[in-house]
Protein backbone atom coordinates (compact mmCIF):
# COMPACT_ATOMS: atom_id res chain seq x y z
CA UNK A 1 0.00 0.00 0.00
CA UNK A 2 1.65 3.25 -1.08
CA UNK A 3 1.81 6.01 1.47
CA UNK A 4 1.36 9.71 0.95
CA UNK A 5 2.64 12.43 3.29
CA UNK A 6 1.12 15.90 3.18
CA UNK A 7 2.53 19.10 4.62
CA UNK A 8 -0.76 20.47 5.98
CA UNK A 9 -0.96 24.26 6.23
CA UNK A 10 -2.92 25.68 9.12
CA UNK A 11 -3.66 29.07 10.54
CA UNK A 12 -3.45 29.06 14.38
CA UNK A 13 -4.50 25.41 14.41
CA UNK A 14 -7.30 25.65 11.83
CA UNK A 15 -6.40 23.67 8.71
CA UNK A 16 -6.48 25.77 5.55
CA UNK A 17 -8.58 24.78 2.54
CA UNK A 18 -5.30 24.07 0.72
CA UNK A 19 -4.59 21.27 3.23
CA UNK A 20 -8.07 19.83 2.63
CA UNK A 21 -7.42 20.01 -1.12
CA UNK A 22 -4.24 17.95 -0.77
CA UNK A 23 -5.96 15.34 1.41
CA UNK A 24 -8.77 15.03 -1.15
CA UNK A 25 -6.27 14.56 -3.99
CA UNK A 26 -4.25 12.06 -1.93
CA UNK A 27 -7.43 10.05 -1.23
CA UNK A 28 -8.15 9.98 -4.95
CA UNK A 29 -4.62 8.77 -5.73
CA UNK A 30 -5.08 6.00 -3.12
CA UNK A 31 -3.03 4.64 -0.23
CA UNK A 32 -2.51 5.64 3.38
CA UNK A 33 -2.68 9.40 3.87
CA UNK A 34 -0.57 10.97 6.62
CA UNK A 35 -0.31 14.68 7.26
CA UNK A 36 2.21 16.82 9.10
CA UNK A 37 1.10 19.95 10.96
CA UNK A 38 4.01 22.13 12.11
CA UNK A 39 3.38 24.59 14.97
CA UNK A 40 0.68 24.56 17.62
CA UNK A 41 -2.27 22.53 16.36
CA UNK A 42 -4.61 19.92 17.82
CA UNK A 43 -4.32 17.97 14.57
CA UNK A 44 -8.08 17.73 14.50
CA UNK A 45 -10.31 18.54 11.55
CA UNK A 46 -8.23 16.99 8.80
CA UNK A 47 -9.60 13.79 7.18
CA UNK A 48 -6.22 12.03 6.93
CA UNK A 49 -5.51 8.53 8.33
CA UNK A 50 -2.85 9.97 10.60
CA UNK A 51 -2.03 13.53 11.56
CA UNK A 52 1.45 14.13 12.97
CA UNK A 53 1.84 17.29 15.01
CA UNK A 54 5.15 18.97 15.77
CA UNK A 55 5.36 21.72 18.32
CA UNK A 56 7.94 23.44 20.48
CA UNK A 57 9.82 26.72 20.77
CA UNK A 58 11.62 26.19 17.42
CA UNK A 59 8.26 25.99 15.67
CA UNK A 60 6.67 29.18 16.98
CA UNK A 61 7.50 31.13 13.84
CA UNK A 62 8.54 29.88 10.43
CA UNK A 63 12.20 29.06 9.95
CA UNK A 64 13.83 26.91 7.29
CA UNK A 65 15.91 24.44 9.24
CA UNK A 66 13.36 23.43 11.93
CA UNK A 67 10.72 22.97 9.21
CA UNK A 68 13.03 20.76 7.12
CA UNK A 69 13.95 18.76 10.24
CA UNK A 70 10.24 18.19 11.01
CA UNK A 71 9.55 17.08 7.46
CA UNK A 72 12.54 14.73 7.47
CA UNK A 73 11.37 13.22 10.78
CA UNK A 74 7.86 12.69 9.39
CA UNK A 75 9.33 11.05 6.27
CA UNK A 76 11.43 8.73 8.43
CA UNK A 77 8.33 7.78 10.42
CA UNK A 78 5.78 7.12 7.67
CA UNK A 79 8.14 6.19 4.79
CA UNK A 80 5.94 7.73 2.09
CA UNK A 81 6.22 7.12 -1.65
CA UNK A 82 4.77 10.54 -2.34
CA UNK A 83 5.10 13.88 -0.53
CA UNK A 84 2.67 16.72 -1.28
CA UNK A 85 2.75 20.35 -0.22
CA UNK A 86 0.92 23.49 -1.27
CA UNK A 87 3.05 25.63 -3.57
CA UNK A 88 3.47 28.69 -1.36
CA UNK A 89 6.54 30.64 -0.25
CA UNK A 90 7.20 28.37 2.74
CA UNK A 91 7.13 25.25 0.56
CA UNK A 92 9.43 26.95 -1.96
CA UNK A 93 11.86 27.53 0.87
CA UNK A 94 11.81 24.09 2.50
CA UNK A 95 10.74 21.44 -0.03
CA UNK A 96 13.81 21.68 -2.32
CA UNK A 97 16.00 21.54 0.78
CA UNK A 98 14.13 18.41 1.90
CA UNK A 99 14.52 16.90 -1.60
CA UNK A 100 18.29 17.46 -1.43
CA UNK A 101 18.44 15.96 2.08
CA UNK A 102 16.58 12.85 0.90
CA UNK A 103 18.37 12.77 -2.46
CA UNK A 104 15.08 12.66 -4.37
CA UNK A 105 13.36 14.50 -7.22
CA UNK A 106 10.80 17.26 -6.94
CA UNK A 107 8.28 18.90 -9.27
CA UNK A 108 6.99 22.32 -8.22
CA UNK A 109 3.73 24.17 -8.82
CA UNK A 110 1.64 21.46 -10.46
CA UNK A 111 -1.98 22.30 -11.30
CA UNK A 112 -3.06 18.68 -11.89
CA UNK A 113 -2.05 15.31 -10.41
CA UNK A 114 -3.18 11.92 -11.66
CA UNK A 115 -2.26 8.27 -11.25
CA UNK A 116 -1.20 6.73 -14.53
CA UNK A 117 0.20 3.22 -14.92
CA UNK A 118 1.44 3.00 -11.33
CA UNK A 119 3.10 6.43 -11.46
CA UNK A 120 1.91 9.84 -10.37
CA UNK A 121 1.89 12.37 -13.18
CA UNK A 122 1.67 16.10 -12.56
CA UNK A 123 0.98 18.89 -15.00
CA UNK A 124 2.87 22.08 -14.47
CA UNK A 125 2.97 25.51 -16.05
CA UNK A 126 6.33 26.91 -17.15
CA UNK A 127 7.38 30.24 -18.67
CA UNK A 128 4.88 31.79 -16.21
CA UNK A 129 2.08 29.79 -17.83
CA UNK A 130 2.96 30.36 -21.49
CA UNK A 131 3.37 26.55 -21.76
CA UNK A 132 2.51 23.43 -19.75
CA UNK A 133 3.95 19.92 -19.54
CA UNK A 134 3.39 16.55 -17.85
CA UNK A 135 5.96 15.77 -15.18
CA UNK A 136 6.90 12.49 -13.51
CA UNK A 137 9.30 12.05 -10.60
CA UNK A 138 11.21 8.78 -10.75
CA UNK A 139 12.35 8.59 -7.15
CA UNK A 140 10.77 7.30 -3.95
CA UNK A 141 9.60 9.38 -2.33
CA UNK A 142 8.60 11.75 -5.10
CA UNK A 143 7.90 15.35 -4.07
CA UNK A 144 5.24 17.54 -5.68
CA UNK A 145 4.01 20.99 -4.70
CA UNK A 146 0.58 21.98 -6.01
CA UNK A 147 -0.80 25.47 -6.65
CA UNK A 148 -3.70 26.52 -4.38
CA UNK A 149 -7.21 26.02 -5.86
CA UNK A 150 -6.03 23.13 -8.08
CA UNK A 151 -8.16 20.43 -6.39
CA UNK A 152 -11.59 20.24 -4.76
CA UNK A 153 -11.30 20.04 -0.94
CA UNK A 154 -12.85 17.07 0.89
CA UNK A 155 -15.73 17.77 3.19
CA UNK A 156 -17.22 15.50 5.81
CA UNK A 157 -14.71 12.65 5.70
CA UNK A 158 -13.84 11.20 9.11
CA UNK A 159 -10.50 12.23 10.59
CA UNK A 160 -8.07 9.52 11.71
CA UNK A 161 -5.59 9.45 14.57
CA UNK A 162 -3.40 12.24 15.84
CA UNK A 163 0.11 11.66 17.09
CA UNK A 164 2.72 14.09 18.42
CA UNK A 165 6.04 13.70 16.62
CA UNK A 166 9.23 14.44 18.51
CA UNK A 167 11.80 16.16 16.32
CA UNK A 168 15.43 16.74 17.08
CA UNK A 169 16.09 19.98 15.22
CA UNK A 170 19.85 20.10 15.69
CA UNK A 171 21.88 23.23 14.98
CA UNK A 172 19.84 26.08 13.51
CA UNK A 173 22.06 28.42 11.50
CA UNK A 174 19.54 31.18 10.84
CA UNK A 175 17.88 33.32 13.51
CA UNK A 176 14.56 35.01 12.87
CA UNK A 177 14.98 38.60 14.05
CA UNK A 178 11.41 39.67 13.39
CA UNK A 179 8.41 39.02 11.20
CA UNK A 180 7.13 42.12 9.43
CA UNK A 181 3.36 42.46 9.03
CA UNK A 182 1.97 43.51 5.65
CA UNK A 183 2.07 47.29 5.14
CA UNK A 184 -1.64 47.28 4.30
CA UNK A 185 -4.57 44.95 4.90
CA UNK A 186 -4.91 44.30 1.16
CA UNK A 187 -4.97 40.60 0.18
CA UNK A 188 -1.70 39.42 -1.38
CA UNK A 189 -2.02 39.39 -5.19
CA UNK A 190 -1.29 35.68 -5.50
CA UNK A 191 -4.25 34.89 -3.22
CA UNK A 192 -6.61 37.67 -4.37
CA UNK A 193 -10.03 36.95 -5.89
CA UNK A 194 -10.38 40.47 -7.27
CA UNK A 195 -7.60 42.53 -8.85
CA UNK A 196 -7.57 45.98 -10.45
CA UNK A 197 -4.36 46.68 -12.38
CA UNK A 198 -2.97 49.82 -13.94
CA UNK A 199 -0.49 50.27 -16.77
CA UNK A 200 1.70 52.97 -18.22
CA UNK A 201 -1.42 54.93 -19.24
CA UNK A 202 -2.03 56.02 -15.62
CA UNK A 203 0.87 58.42 -16.42
CA UNK A 204 2.15 58.97 -12.85
CA UNK A 205 2.10 57.72 -9.28
CA UNK A 206 -0.67 60.26 -8.66
CA UNK A 207 -2.60 58.81 -11.61
CA UNK A 208 -2.22 55.34 -10.11
CA UNK A 209 -3.43 56.61 -6.73
CA UNK A 210 -6.37 58.49 -8.28
CA UNK A 211 -7.57 55.87 -10.77
CA UNK A 212 -6.49 52.39 -9.70
CA UNK A 213 -6.47 52.37 -5.89
CA UNK A 214 -9.99 53.87 -5.47
CA UNK A 215 -11.44 51.45 -8.04
CA UNK A 216 -9.77 48.55 -6.24
CA UNK A 217 -10.99 49.83 -2.86
CA UNK A 218 -14.57 50.16 -4.18
CA UNK A 219 -14.82 46.39 -4.70
CA UNK A 220 -12.30 45.20 -2.08
CA UNK A 221 -9.78 44.24 -4.76
CA UNK A 222 -5.99 44.17 -4.56
CA UNK A 223 -4.22 46.73 -6.75
CA UNK A 224 -1.77 45.42 -9.35
CA UNK A 225 0.34 46.88 -12.13
CA UNK A 226 2.14 46.15 -15.37
CA UNK A 227 5.92 46.11 -15.54
CA UNK A 228 5.84 49.41 -17.43
CA UNK A 229 3.99 51.09 -14.54
CA UNK A 230 6.37 49.61 -11.95
CA UNK A 231 9.51 50.48 -13.92
CA UNK A 232 8.21 54.04 -14.30
CA UNK A 233 7.94 54.24 -10.49
CA UNK A 234 4.13 54.58 -10.35
CA UNK A 235 3.86 51.81 -7.71
CA UNK A 236 6.07 49.31 -5.82
CA UNK A 237 7.58 46.10 -7.26
CA UNK A 238 5.35 44.00 -5.00
CA UNK A 239 2.34 45.04 -7.08
CA UNK A 240 3.73 43.88 -10.44
CA UNK A 241 1.77 41.18 -12.26
CA UNK A 242 3.53 39.18 -14.96
CA UNK A 243 6.44 36.89 -15.73
CA UNK A 244 8.85 38.90 -13.59
CA UNK A 245 6.20 39.76 -11.00
CA UNK A 246 3.34 37.85 -9.42
CA UNK A 247 1.46 35.14 -11.30
CA UNK A 248 -2.19 35.63 -10.32
CA UNK A 249 -5.38 33.61 -10.62
CA UNK A 250 -8.32 35.81 -9.52
CA UNK A 251 -11.99 35.48 -10.47
CA UNK A 252 -11.97 39.07 -11.77
CA UNK A 253 -9.04 40.99 -13.27
CA UNK A 254 -9.66 44.57 -14.40
CA UNK A 255 -6.80 45.83 -16.61
CA UNK A 256 -6.79 49.63 -16.92
CA UNK A 257 -4.55 51.19 -19.52
CA UNK A 258 -2.57 47.97 -19.95
CA UNK A 259 -1.76 47.11 -23.57
CA UNK A 260 -1.16 43.42 -22.87
CA UNK A 261 2.55 42.69 -23.34
CA UNK A 262 3.30 38.95 -23.55
CA UNK A 263 5.03 38.94 -20.20
CA UNK A 264 2.02 40.60 -18.52
CA UNK A 265 -0.52 38.27 -20.15
CA UNK A 266 1.54 35.30 -18.91
CA UNK A 267 0.95 36.40 -15.33
CA UNK A 268 -2.84 36.86 -15.49
CA UNK A 269 -4.22 34.81 -18.36
CA UNK A 270 -5.85 32.22 -16.10
CA UNK A 271 -8.08 34.88 -14.46
CA UNK A 272 -11.71 33.74 -14.72
CA UNK A 273 -13.06 37.05 -16.02
CA UNK A 274 -10.84 39.72 -17.56
CA UNK A 275 -12.03 43.29 -18.15
CA UNK A 276 -9.88 45.52 -20.36
CA UNK A 277 -10.17 49.29 -20.51
CA UNK A 278 -7.87 50.87 -23.07
CA UNK A 279 -8.13 53.69 -25.56
CA UNK A 280 -6.31 51.73 -28.28
CA UNK A 281 -8.87 49.39 -29.90
CA UNK A 282 -5.98 47.29 -31.30
CA UNK A 283 -4.34 46.65 -27.88
CA UNK A 284 -3.53 42.91 -27.54
CA UNK A 285 -5.25 42.81 -24.13
CA UNK A 286 -8.64 42.91 -25.89
CA UNK A 287 -7.99 39.45 -27.40
CA UNK A 288 -7.91 38.05 -23.85
CA UNK A 289 -10.68 40.16 -22.36
CA UNK A 290 -14.10 38.78 -21.46
CA UNK A 291 -15.41 42.37 -21.61
CA UNK A 292 -13.66 45.29 -23.23
CA UNK A 293 -14.23 49.02 -23.12
CA UNK A 294 -12.45 51.19 -25.68
CA UNK A 295 -12.00 54.49 -23.90
CA UNK A 296 -9.80 56.75 -21.81
CA UNK A 297 -9.15 55.37 -18.32
CA UNK A 298 -9.21 58.93 -16.96
CA UNK A 299 -12.89 59.04 -17.99
CA UNK A 300 -13.95 55.41 -17.49
CA UNK A 301 -12.22 54.47 -14.20
CA UNK A 302 -13.75 57.23 -12.02
CA UNK A 303 -17.21 56.46 -13.46
CA UNK A 304 -16.74 52.76 -12.82
CA UNK A 305 -15.54 53.48 -9.26
CA UNK A 306 -18.68 55.54 -8.61
CA UNK A 307 -20.94 52.86 -10.10
CA UNK A 308 -19.37 50.10 -7.99
CA UNK A 309 -19.25 51.94 -4.66
Amino acid sequence: MPGILILADHDAGIFKSTALELVAKARELGGTVSALAIGTSSGEGLPADLVLTVDGPEFGTFNTEPWVAALAAAVAKVQPDLILATANMVARDVMPRLAARLGVGMAADVVELRAEGGAVVGRRPVYAGKALFDVTVKSSPAIFTARPNSFVPTAGAAPGGVEALVVSVGVVQTTVVETLAPSSNVVDLTEAHLIVSGGRAVKSAEGFDQLIRPLAAAIGASPGASRAAVDAGFCPHGEQVGQTGKVVNPSLYIACGISGAIQHLAGMRTSKVIVAINKDPDAPIFQFASYGIVGDIFTICPMLTEALK
Binding site: N63, A131, H237
Partner: protein, 258 residues
Protein backbone atom coordinates in the same frame (compact mmCIF):
# COMPACT_ATOMS: atom_id res chain seq x y z
CA UNK B 1 35.22 37.82 0.76
CA UNK B 2 34.50 36.07 -2.51
CA UNK B 3 30.95 35.99 -3.89
CA UNK B 4 29.65 33.50 -6.43
CA UNK B 5 26.76 34.67 -8.60
CA UNK B 6 24.62 32.10 -10.41
CA UNK B 7 23.55 33.29 -13.86
CA UNK B 8 21.17 31.38 -16.08
CA UNK B 9 20.49 32.07 -19.73
CA UNK B 10 16.75 32.13 -20.51
CA UNK B 11 14.49 33.20 -23.39
CA UNK B 12 13.65 36.92 -23.17
CA UNK B 13 10.40 37.53 -21.30
CA UNK B 14 8.78 39.06 -24.41
CA UNK B 15 9.22 35.76 -26.28
CA UNK B 16 6.09 34.34 -27.88
CA UNK B 17 6.48 30.71 -26.79
CA UNK B 18 5.82 27.99 -29.41
CA UNK B 19 5.96 24.25 -28.78
CA UNK B 20 8.32 22.16 -30.94
CA UNK B 21 7.02 19.50 -33.33
CA UNK B 22 7.66 16.60 -30.95
CA UNK B 23 6.00 18.28 -27.96
CA UNK B 24 9.25 17.85 -26.03
CA UNK B 25 9.96 21.51 -25.33
CA UNK B 26 9.73 24.97 -26.77
CA UNK B 27 10.74 25.94 -30.29
CA UNK B 28 14.17 27.46 -29.71
CA UNK B 29 14.86 28.77 -33.22
CA UNK B 30 14.91 32.56 -33.41
CA UNK B 31 14.40 32.97 -29.65
CA UNK B 32 16.34 35.86 -28.15
CA UNK B 33 18.27 34.79 -25.04
CA UNK B 34 19.15 36.95 -22.07
CA UNK B 35 20.28 36.75 -18.43
CA UNK B 36 17.44 35.54 -16.22
CA UNK B 37 16.01 38.86 -14.95
CA UNK B 38 16.18 37.89 -11.25
CA UNK B 39 19.84 36.87 -11.66
CA UNK B 40 20.61 40.44 -12.72
CA UNK B 41 19.50 41.53 -9.25
CA UNK B 42 21.73 38.84 -7.69
CA UNK B 43 24.70 40.09 -9.71
CA UNK B 44 23.95 43.71 -8.82
CA UNK B 45 23.91 42.88 -5.09
CA UNK B 46 27.31 41.18 -5.37
CA UNK B 47 28.72 44.16 -7.28
CA UNK B 48 27.31 46.59 -4.69
CA UNK B 49 29.09 44.62 -1.94
CA UNK B 50 32.29 44.84 -3.96
CA UNK B 51 31.82 48.60 -4.46
CA UNK B 52 31.36 48.93 -0.69
CA UNK B 53 34.62 46.96 -0.16
CA UNK B 54 32.72 44.22 1.67
CA UNK B 55 33.74 41.75 -1.02
CA UNK B 56 36.91 41.68 -3.06
CA UNK B 57 36.06 39.13 -5.72
CA UNK B 58 32.95 38.21 -7.71
CA UNK B 59 32.79 35.06 -9.82
CA UNK B 60 29.93 34.53 -12.25
CA UNK B 61 28.93 30.88 -12.59
CA UNK B 62 26.71 29.60 -15.39
CA UNK B 63 25.67 26.15 -16.58
CA UNK B 64 24.61 25.67 -20.18
CA UNK B 65 25.66 25.49 -23.81
CA UNK B 66 26.27 28.05 -26.52
CA UNK B 67 25.55 31.64 -25.59
CA UNK B 68 26.23 31.24 -21.88
CA UNK B 69 29.74 32.58 -22.41
CA UNK B 70 28.15 35.80 -23.69
CA UNK B 71 25.95 36.03 -20.58
CA UNK B 72 29.04 35.52 -18.41
CA UNK B 73 30.90 38.14 -20.47
CA UNK B 74 27.98 40.52 -19.82
CA UNK B 75 28.39 39.88 -16.07
CA UNK B 76 32.14 40.56 -16.34
CA UNK B 77 31.40 43.78 -18.23
CA UNK B 78 29.20 44.96 -15.37
CA UNK B 79 32.04 44.41 -12.92
CA UNK B 80 32.47 40.73 -11.99
CA UNK B 81 36.10 39.53 -11.90
CA UNK B 82 36.06 36.02 -13.29
CA UNK B 83 33.70 33.60 -15.00
CA UNK B 84 33.07 29.89 -14.63
CA UNK B 85 31.27 28.32 -17.58
CA UNK B 86 30.10 24.76 -17.01
CA UNK B 87 29.42 23.61 -20.55
CA UNK B 88 28.48 19.94 -20.55
CA UNK B 89 25.97 18.29 -22.92
CA UNK B 90 25.38 15.62 -20.25
CA UNK B 91 23.67 18.28 -18.14
CA UNK B 92 21.04 19.03 -20.78
CA UNK B 93 17.69 17.98 -19.29
CA UNK B 94 19.33 17.28 -15.91
CA UNK B 95 17.11 17.58 -12.84
CA UNK B 96 17.51 20.40 -10.30
CA UNK B 97 19.33 18.21 -7.78
CA UNK B 98 22.02 17.25 -10.31
CA UNK B 99 22.49 20.91 -11.26
CA UNK B 100 22.67 21.75 -7.54
CA UNK B 101 25.36 19.08 -6.98
CA UNK B 102 27.51 20.57 -9.73
CA UNK B 103 27.03 24.10 -8.40
CA UNK B 104 27.73 23.08 -4.80
CA UNK B 105 30.98 21.43 -5.90
CA UNK B 106 31.85 24.47 -8.03
CA UNK B 107 31.19 26.83 -5.09
CA UNK B 108 33.57 24.78 -2.96
CA UNK B 109 36.23 24.65 -5.65
CA UNK B 110 35.98 28.42 -6.14
CA UNK B 111 36.14 28.97 -2.38
CA UNK B 112 33.19 31.36 -2.28
CA UNK B 113 31.88 32.72 1.03
CA UNK B 114 28.49 33.59 -0.34
CA UNK B 115 26.44 32.29 -3.25
CA UNK B 116 23.64 34.42 -4.65
CA UNK B 117 21.13 33.62 -7.40
CA UNK B 118 17.84 35.00 -8.67
CA UNK B 119 14.77 33.80 -6.77
CA UNK B 120 13.79 31.68 -9.77
CA UNK B 121 14.62 31.30 -13.44
CA UNK B 122 11.77 32.53 -15.60
CA UNK B 123 12.00 29.60 -18.02
CA UNK B 124 11.20 26.50 -15.95
CA UNK B 125 10.11 28.44 -12.85
CA UNK B 126 11.41 25.65 -10.58
CA UNK B 127 12.91 27.84 -7.84
CA UNK B 128 14.70 24.80 -6.40
CA UNK B 129 18.42 25.07 -7.06
CA UNK B 130 19.45 27.66 -4.41
CA UNK B 131 17.83 25.75 -1.51
CA UNK B 132 19.25 22.46 -2.78
CA UNK B 133 22.77 23.93 -3.01
CA UNK B 134 22.42 25.29 0.54
CA UNK B 135 21.43 21.87 1.83
CA UNK B 136 24.24 20.07 -0.03
CA UNK B 137 26.80 22.51 1.40
CA UNK B 138 25.18 22.55 4.86
CA UNK B 139 24.94 26.36 4.63
CA UNK B 140 22.11 28.59 5.89
CA UNK B 141 19.79 30.08 3.29
CA UNK B 142 17.79 33.28 2.93
CA UNK B 143 15.66 33.16 -0.20
CA UNK B 144 13.56 35.72 -2.07
CA UNK B 145 15.20 38.61 -0.26
CA UNK B 146 14.40 42.30 -0.68
CA UNK B 147 17.10 43.66 1.67
CA UNK B 148 20.61 42.50 2.57
CA UNK B 149 23.36 43.71 4.84
CA UNK B 150 26.74 42.09 5.40
CA UNK B 151 28.73 42.82 8.51
CA UNK B 152 31.98 40.96 8.93
CA UNK B 153 31.17 37.29 8.64
CA UNK B 154 27.43 37.71 9.20
CA UNK B 155 24.44 38.46 6.98
CA UNK B 156 21.05 39.93 7.74
CA UNK B 157 18.34 39.67 5.10
CA UNK B 158 14.62 40.35 4.69
CA UNK B 159 12.82 37.49 2.99
CA UNK B 160 9.29 37.01 1.66
CA UNK B 161 7.47 34.18 3.44
CA UNK B 162 4.12 34.63 1.70
CA UNK B 163 0.73 36.00 2.67
CA UNK B 164 2.19 39.51 2.56
CA UNK B 165 4.59 38.67 5.42
CA UNK B 166 8.30 39.35 5.37
CA UNK B 167 10.82 38.05 7.82
CA UNK B 168 14.18 39.47 8.89
CA UNK B 169 16.71 36.65 9.37
CA UNK B 170 20.38 36.61 10.25
CA UNK B 171 23.14 34.07 10.19
CA UNK B 172 26.81 33.47 9.61
CA UNK B 173 28.51 33.23 6.22
CA UNK B 174 28.99 31.15 4.14
CA UNK B 175 25.36 31.22 3.03
CA UNK B 176 23.12 30.87 -0.02
CA UNK B 177 20.87 33.81 -0.89
CA UNK B 178 18.33 34.45 -3.64
CA UNK B 179 17.26 37.84 -4.93
CA UNK B 180 13.81 39.29 -5.49
CA UNK B 181 13.33 42.30 -7.76
CA UNK B 182 12.96 44.78 -4.91
CA UNK B 183 16.54 44.09 -3.73
CA UNK B 184 18.14 46.68 -6.03
CA UNK B 185 18.21 48.18 -9.53
CA UNK B 186 20.67 46.38 -11.82
CA UNK B 187 23.33 48.47 -13.52
CA UNK B 188 24.20 48.44 -17.20
CA UNK B 189 27.63 47.60 -18.49
CA UNK B 190 29.75 50.67 -19.22
CA UNK B 191 31.85 50.94 -22.36
CA UNK B 192 35.14 50.70 -20.40
CA UNK B 193 33.59 47.76 -18.55
CA UNK B 194 32.86 46.01 -21.84
CA UNK B 195 36.44 46.63 -23.04
CA UNK B 196 37.91 45.32 -19.76
CA UNK B 197 35.68 42.25 -19.77
CA UNK B 198 37.36 41.00 -22.95
CA UNK B 199 40.54 40.31 -20.99
CA UNK B 200 38.87 38.78 -17.92
CA UNK B 201 39.21 34.99 -17.63
CA UNK B 202 36.37 32.51 -18.15
CA UNK B 203 37.22 28.96 -17.03
CA UNK B 204 35.40 26.24 -18.98
CA UNK B 205 34.54 23.06 -17.09
CA UNK B 206 32.33 19.96 -17.16
CA UNK B 207 30.35 18.21 -14.42
CA UNK B 208 33.09 15.56 -14.32
CA UNK B 209 35.68 18.22 -13.48
CA UNK B 210 33.79 18.70 -10.21
CA UNK B 211 33.48 14.97 -9.57
CA UNK B 212 29.75 14.84 -10.30
CA UNK B 213 28.53 11.82 -12.27
CA UNK B 214 25.42 12.70 -14.25
CA UNK B 215 22.86 9.89 -14.25
CA UNK B 216 19.34 9.58 -15.65
CA UNK B 217 17.19 12.54 -14.54
CA UNK B 218 14.76 11.84 -11.68
CA UNK B 219 12.34 14.49 -12.94
CA UNK B 220 11.10 14.00 -16.49
CA UNK B 221 8.83 16.20 -18.61
CA UNK B 222 6.67 15.28 -21.63
CA UNK B 223 3.64 16.41 -23.63
CA UNK B 224 4.36 20.11 -23.81
CA UNK B 225 1.39 22.20 -24.91
CA UNK B 226 0.34 25.81 -25.04
CA UNK B 227 -2.32 26.86 -22.49
CA UNK B 228 -5.93 26.56 -23.66
CA UNK B 229 -7.24 29.51 -25.69
CA UNK B 230 -9.58 31.89 -23.89
CA UNK B 231 -13.11 32.09 -25.29
CA UNK B 232 -13.71 35.24 -27.35
CA UNK B 233 -14.94 38.20 -25.35
CA UNK B 234 -16.87 41.24 -26.46
CA UNK B 235 -16.28 44.95 -26.75
CA UNK B 236 -19.04 47.03 -25.15
CA UNK B 237 -20.35 49.78 -27.46
CA UNK B 238 -21.81 53.17 -26.54
CA UNK B 239 -21.20 56.34 -24.59
CA UNK B 240 -18.96 56.07 -21.48
CA UNK B 241 -21.93 56.20 -19.07
CA UNK B 242 -23.72 53.46 -21.00
CA UNK B 243 -20.75 51.08 -21.24
CA UNK B 244 -19.87 51.54 -17.57
CA UNK B 245 -23.47 50.73 -16.53
CA UNK B 246 -23.52 47.73 -18.89
CA UNK B 247 -20.19 46.46 -17.54
CA UNK B 248 -21.34 46.68 -13.92
CA UNK B 249 -24.51 44.83 -14.84
CA UNK B 250 -22.60 42.10 -16.72
CA UNK B 251 -20.14 41.59 -13.87
CA UNK B 252 -22.99 41.22 -11.39
CA UNK B 253 -25.54 39.21 -13.36
CA UNK B 254 -23.73 37.39 -16.19
CA UNK B 255 -20.19 36.78 -14.89
CA UNK B 256 -21.39 36.82 -11.25
CA UNK B 257 -17.97 37.87 -9.97
CA UNK B 258 -19.19 40.82 -7.90
Amino acid sequence: MKIGVLLKQVPATDTRIKINAGGTGIETGGVKLEINPYDEHALEEALKLKDAKKANQVVVISIGGAGNDQRIRDGLARGADTGLWIDDPALEGADSLTIAKVLAAAAKAEGVDMLIAGKQAVDNDNAQVPAMVAELLGWPQALVISELSIDGGAFQATRDIGGGLRQVVKGALPAVLSADKALNTPRYASLPGIMKARRKPIAKKTAGDFGVAVGEPMVVDANWTLPPERPAGRILQGEPAEVVAELVNLLRTEAKVL
